[in-house]
Symmetry: C2
Subunit: 506 residues, 2 copies
């Protein structure tokens, strides 16, 4: 008995599950941005209850019966039904006691990781990470059997549906080859120029906040449907009609707040641009974390850090904070905000070396999930791997394998999204520039709207109707192609005439 009524019931059920997810998303934002610390324990319980209720409603027996019977009509419904079946399969594959044990182990390990990182003492967290890894591998195996893909791919699939290690490994290998030559060449070219000048503060925080808000608005964020707040670690959260971004401010530095805001605004614009007709349906969601990262990076790295936009932004900064005009010139800002420097810390890395950090983690987590690398051997493997990639060694584990929260909170298979996103951003920008010849003129007026219109058509408005690879193909004429990113880097960092402040913004 195949029918459309079954599909309609599924739409209702997934709407319910998604609305529960929205509650969790808002409460998660609250916890990270504004909750008083004493509310943490109760909040953990609240989020656990919402997760339980979402899961319970998703795996209800009626879901299975309706999924078997449902008939969809048209591309959107068919894609939606496919994603529903996939979501059900993933949820059903994991026994409830394993889900619960993992949640507890992750939360416990994350707490101890904070202490271990503070004391640069890996031994402290080692047994807890081993437990997290053990339970993650059990989950990966269960998901692998249900989905018919490898355990590591089954984990990746949870963040970026349809992309696996087979897609990522050759792309990363090519980048490694590129970097082996490009890094020292970029450093050589950079050394030819004088060091950039850092604008002198102080930068009053109220003025920074006003500027950040104006900037987000100018990039296309509508504060009728958004908030900008402060948090220790900038992030974006909320729901498509109520997106919430955060940044952090320091009196003596204006860079950090602004670049975080433009990055998070990119994420927020993606959520805002998702197709409202399919809100709260799997097909109406963002097309995975790599695509999400591409949208933050196309705004931050491709648009805002372009010469043209920096020219406008520098003027705006100078008008706001006064002082010497020279540090706010596009050339100086470009050299300041696009500086190559080998760092042991991923979040401090520049655009060129960032992928090396991701490649390292991809390799290590894949080996851990495969059982080829034990937790005990992780610090050594980390340090050796980083040295091979960037020629530097962390002074301690706090600046090595303890630096990221991922893994310690159970997130394995997420890291590749960062670099897939950077590569997709470059490729999307190349395609957008090809169809909008006046793009950089608009950037020079601080106007990003032509790009936003293009992204709404080619990415945001598609939701998850197409997968990552198909979106890339339809938007750019080809699948993810790491050469677009390499070309972008070549023009920005490796062309003597254009490097550090005079690139033509390709």
């Amino acid at each position: 008995m195949t029918n459309h009524l079954a599909y309609d019931r599924l739409v209702d059920r997934f709407r319910l599950v998604a609305t529960i997810g929205e509650c969790a998303s808002m409460l998660g934002w609250d916890a990270a941005a504004i909750m008083p610390p004493g509310g943490g324990q109760a909040r953990g319980d609240q989020l656990a209850v919402l997760a339980l209720l979402g899961h319970r409603n998703l795996i209800a027996p009626e879901t299975e019966a309706d999924l078997a019977a449902a008939e969809a009509s048209g591309a959107w419904e068919s894609a939606n039904l496919g994603l529903m079946r996939h979501a059900y399969k993933r949820a059903k594959a994991l026994p409830a006691d394993l889900v619960e044990a993992r949640a507890k182990a992750n939360s416990n390990c994350e707490k101890i990781w904070r202490v271990a990182r503070g004391e640069a003492d890996f031994a402290l967290v080692k047994p807890h990470l081993a437990e997290v890894l053990h339970l993650t591998r059990l989950s990966a195996t269960a998901l692998s059997e249900a989905l018919g893909i490898s355990p590591y791919d089954a984990l990746m699939d949870g963040y970026q549906h349809g992309i696996g290690a087979g897609d990522v490994a050759p792309v990363f290998a090519a980048y490694e080859d590129f970097l082996a030559i490009a890094l020292s060449e970029a450093e050589r070219l950079q050394a030819r120029h004088r060091d950039p000048v850092r604008p002198a503060g102080p930068f009053p925080i109220a003025a920074q906040e006003t500027l950040c808000r104006d900037l987000a608005q100018r990039l296309g964020l509508d504060f009728n449907h958004a908030r900008l707040d402060r948090s220790a670690h900038p992030f974006s959260g909320g729901t498509p009609t109520d997106v919430r971004i955060t940044t952090r401010y320091a009196e003596d530095d204006v860079t950090s707040a602004i670049l975080a805001v433009v990055h998070e605004t990119g994420h927020a614009l993606y959520e805002r641009g998702l197709p409202p007709a399919y809100a709260r349906q799997p097909v109406g969601e963002a097309a995975g974390m790599a695509m999400h990262e591409s949208q933050s990076l196309i705004v931050e790295m491709q648009a805002v850090r372009s010469d043209a936009f920096l020219g406008w932004l520098g003027g705006r900064l100078h008008a706001t904070f006064g002082g010497e005009p020279a540090p706010y010139g596009a050339e100086n800002l470009g050299r300041l905000w696009r500086r190559v420097r080998r760092s042991t810390i991923r979040v401090d890395a520049d655009e060129l070396t960032y992928p090396a950090h991701v490649i390292l983690r991809f390799r290590l987590e894949r080996a851990m999930i495969a059982g080829d690398l034990t937790v005990a051997d992780l610090p050594g493997a980390w340090n050796d791997g980083l040295h091979a990639l960037l020629g530097i060694t962390p002074p301690d584990d706090a600046q090595g394998c303890l630096q990221d929260i991922h893994w310690y909170d159970g997130a394995f298979g997420y890291f590749p999204s960062y670099t897939l996103g950077a590569m997709a951003a470059a490729q999307l920008m190349q395609a957008a520039r090809a169809t909008i010849p006046t793009m950089d003129e608009a950037f020079g007026r601080g106007d990003v709207s032509p790009l936003l219109v293009w992204l709404r058509t080619h990415v945001h408005g598609i939701g998850s109707r197409l997968g990552f690879n198909t979106i890339m193909e339809q938007a750019t004429g080809r699948k993810l192609d790491p050469l677009a990113f390499q070309n972008h880097l070549r023009l920005r960092y490796l062309t003597p005439a254009s490097a550090f402040g005079i690139d033509r913004g390709q």
Copy 2:
């Protein structure tokens, strides 16, 4: 098969339902305090889903079976089980389609009420209020049958369990008699004195905010478990370990922000003082809305507005804002913040005339629920009733029967809580003063902790183990006795020597 396992299962179930309620409470706070307006529609859906899930889990068939079988041991468990049975009865009495229809009608009517009040046009909202009343009466009848009490009492019971019109009517009648003499006498005495002087602003909002935060902290609020924000209408919300209060600030007035903060702090302290061992159980909740109001009013009206505390607070205000010291003297502040003035607006009313507003609404809503007053006759009945009580008539319906959100959002049976709370506050304060002779000395140092300790023992820590009347009896030696409130008013407003600034704070 009577057993304790059934009780334990019920504890788990009610914990789940309460945790869902916590999610709704936090999201309700967010919506009222900080949500961007464009998030409203999605938030409505989220709250509706949480209400549905809470209700579904409460009325599950297992609940009924366990309630029939459960055995409790000890006073706390027995009270808890009794409250569980009561909550189940209430939830089960209402058919799901009626609950849904009411929610829609209330929400719709509230929206139109905002327009109608803005335009002082009762006709606009009349049919919508009639629909709300119709559905409320259907609910009241269903609840009445399930609980074996009158329809109006069944509505009151939802706000203040165990208190009905039979308790309230004689108390209100006595107050009406008292007021008939007291009001003009208070006005006569007040007229003998010169008018109080209003402190001259401006009062910078940042300084007000710091002062309000310090004041809340001094009253006992721990900001490790609380937030203070801004909203158009001050309120308190959140959960016992994460209470959230709001106030509003105006540059030219310091009274409004401060008095709202001390009121909401009273509510927040009650939540903070509930018994943690019974968190998320019916017995661990506050003992109804009248008791809640008593806790905000004992702080605002009894403690902070006492001569002793005003003496301290005036000094603090002058130290903060500077200017002439005279307006900040206890006597002037007392006359300013305890001024009797017949107002058509409830929220602007003083302590003495406020109950008249409540008595009017109690009488009218009881008649509407009984079917003795139609919506069409409401404006006239309102104006006549107010004139009989206070001798004044609203110039239009915006300042008459359109002034309060209650009724238009479906809240019938709530109004009596305000005045029951005021009376309970006076009676509790009288008892606390009798056991703590140094209370006013402490108030004179801005120290409310002796009162807070007493309230924690006699009210907060009891949760709902005892009902309103029993809490009053055990704390004060007698049931709610309106004379304590009248004595308080006599000393503050009707004693020539002590009125307006020199009362002995009884």
